[in-house]
Symmetry: C2
Subunit: 233 residues, 2 copies
């Protein structure tokens, strides 16, 4: 017989690829993508009948998908009026940053206990962003920035925090589409991202936290200003 049967424990987890089958979840994924990349403008109304025809799913299934995205704050559900793509305001941005500060700063400060490859994931996101900049791929820079901060949150090694960060950053990205010129918003922060990563890799977690806090202050300020001066009515 071959050594042991342990080989079955060694192959990678299927990870949701098996259980993932519900139509409602697939529709939710599809919609989430369209919302995040801006294909569905904030405030847009989602008609049950028309979307149902478009996706070839029944109204009931569609409504289940709506509930999922509503819980992620990407859709708002107004009773007897329908569901709309969420339209975050300045106060929402402020609130999201409150939560980001709490979670990401705690994550960075918990660096010494972070799981093994967690810091490496941050570095990968940094390079992903720099590659996008080299191509002039502004959309890609935004995506990389999301991955970067998700990786920061990942330092806590907490599935619940990971999930929360995922939602939070998706909602934040939605907020960008309300802004005037989100194009090269993130580009100036790429160098700062790398600097923080270097500090993490060097084990200077407290200094990294201070740097990150500085980033929050600047980015929040810039974002809120972009909201307060509305993108021409």
């Amino acid at each position: 017989m071959t050594a042991t049967g342990d080989w079955i424990d060694d192959l990678p987890d299927a990870g949701e690829d098996l259980e993932r089958s519900s139509t409602a979840e697939r529709v939710a994924d599809l919609l989430r993508g369209h919302i995040i990349n801006g294909a569905l403008a904030p405030g847009a109304r989602l008609s049950e009948e028309r979307l149902g025809r478009k996706f070839r799913v029944s109204r009931n299934t569609l409504r289940e998908a709506f509930r999922l995205l509503g819980h992620e704050r990407l859709l708002v559900h107004e009773f007897n009026r329908g569901v709309f793509v969420a339209k975050p305001g300045a106060e929402d941005v402020v609130d999201m940053f409150r939560m980001r500060r709490a979670l990401e700063l705690a994550a960075v400060r918990s660096g010494p206990q972070a799981p093994a490859e967690a810091v490496g994931t941050v570095g990968a996101a940094v390079e992903q962003g720099e590659a996008a900049r080299a191509c002039g791929d502004w959309e890609g820079i935004g995506t990389a920035n999301m991955a970067y901060h998700r990786a920061i949150g990942g330092l806590l090694g907490s599935p619940r925090v990971d999930e929360t960060m995922r939602q939070l950053l998706a909602e934040l990205r939605l907020a960008f589409h309300v802004m005037a010129a989100p194009r090269d918003f993130y580009a100036p922060y790429l160098d700062r991202n790398r600097a923080i990563y270097e500090l993490l890799a060097a084990g200077s977690f407290d200094t990294a936290a201070e740097e990150l806090a500085g980033y929050f202050d600047i980015a929040e300020n810039q974002l809120v200003r972009a909201f307060t001066v509305p993108p021409r009515a």
Copy 2:
């Protein structure tokens, strides 16, 4: 004419009392109550047909309610098998405490910027717990402890953190029902709760954070032990 029409802006917001009407949400509220007070045991299966008959709602409406509670991690949805009351394990408790530490400690340290009556809310929860202890109302002590930590999270003044804390503590409470003797679990912590509150009221936020961190260590340890030594099979 009477001075201005501004009086209409001055009356208090109706605040969700008007929009709150969906049957699915009411069913979700009902189920949530039954789950956190232990009427529905962890691991129990929720049959769509039987629950639908019981509550006099259709399967579709019930399924919408399930989705809501699933997103709060109170129910787990297994494809083609049904929904079950979540059954948190030791690793879930550890993870919940990771997130609690991040949020509540950040909240306490943000004390100086806390909204006006936020500290008072913490004090109210302390007294609510002491009153419950005086009555020997163990269930009430647990409820008061939940309110206490929600109030701690409320120091951040963030709606998103509030919502997250609400879910987190509901899930944590569910975890208690897996324990052997959850009866007087919280009683020993009442004095500590008051001590932390006094520190908050005195403005010693950093000291309060240290005390709170100590509470987390002890409570988590006690909880995890209660899980590792299972409540007789």
